[in-house]
């Protein structure tokens, strides 16, 4: 079965992204397809490369990156939600004349169309919110 996940909560403050990560691992383990993970609202903070967790704590953006690399996943951060919350790739940082960018390289900034497209391509769409 083909799944798309929508993550709407930020890491650390809310448990939802961690639940979504475990769910993603479980569905991949079972041989299902993960078409896309779409990060929306405060979920865009999952894409921040500046998240710096203590060594003995989980770093969600790094975990997403590792999972994406292992399974060649499409992990998309909503561009409109992200720029308002200070999650920028190099292109947007330049456009808005910011001194640095912070989107993790495994993630892609794109529009809500990617959410709708993924929903059309998937058998199940599961939201993880906070």
């Amino acid at each position: 079965m083909i799944f798309t996940l929508i993550v709407q909560a930020s890491p650390y403050q809310h448990q939802a992204p961690e639940t979504a990560l475990r769910f993603a691992k479980a569905l991949l383990r079972q041989g299902h397809t993960l078409h896309r993970i779409f990060f929306y609202r405060d979920g865009v903070h999952n894409g921040s490369a500046l998240v710096s967790s203590p060594r003995d704590e989980q770093n969600l953006p790094e975990q997403w990156q590792a999972l994406a690399e292992e399974h060649d996943l499409d992990i998309v951060v909503c561009i409109a939600a992200a720029i308002r919350r200070g999650v920028l790739d190099a292109t947007e940082a330049k456009r808005y004349e910011r001194r640095g960018d912070n989107l993790h390289s495994a993630f892609e900034l794109s529009g809500l169309g990617q959410l709708v497209e993924a929903s059309l391509a998937s058998d199940r769409v599961i939201t993880f919110g906070g």
Partner: protein, 94 residues
């Protein structure tokens, strides 16, 4: 065409559960996750008397020390995925 409903808010957010329950059909399943698992405590579970199929996510029940206190049927992460495949759609309440 049953629906799986997940709920991640606990008893201090009663309206979240209320609105979830208002949309549930008889053959739907309610999966309690994150803080939602507190509804499985004996002091709250009667609110769910009308729900035929209730499950709680095992990791969240264990994490919160509720395994000795609640008799609700548990599912692990693989079971969560299984529930999603066994239902036609998933509605998340948070």
């Amino acid at each position: 065409m049953p629906t799986l409903h997940t709920l991640n808010r606990g008893p201090s957010h009663a309206s979240c559960l209320e609105e979830c329950l208002s949309t549930m059909a008889n053959d739907d399943t309610l999966l309690l996750i994150e803080d939602g698992v507190y509804w499985a405590l004996p002091s709250h579970i009667s609110v769910l008397n009308d729900v035929s199929h209730i499950r709680a996510l095992k990791a969240d029940v264990l994490a919160r020390g509720l395994h000795q206190l609640s008799g609700t049927e548990l599912v692990d992460d693989d079971g969560f995925v299984g529930l999603c495949t066994q239902h036609d759609r998933v509605v998340s309440w948070f």
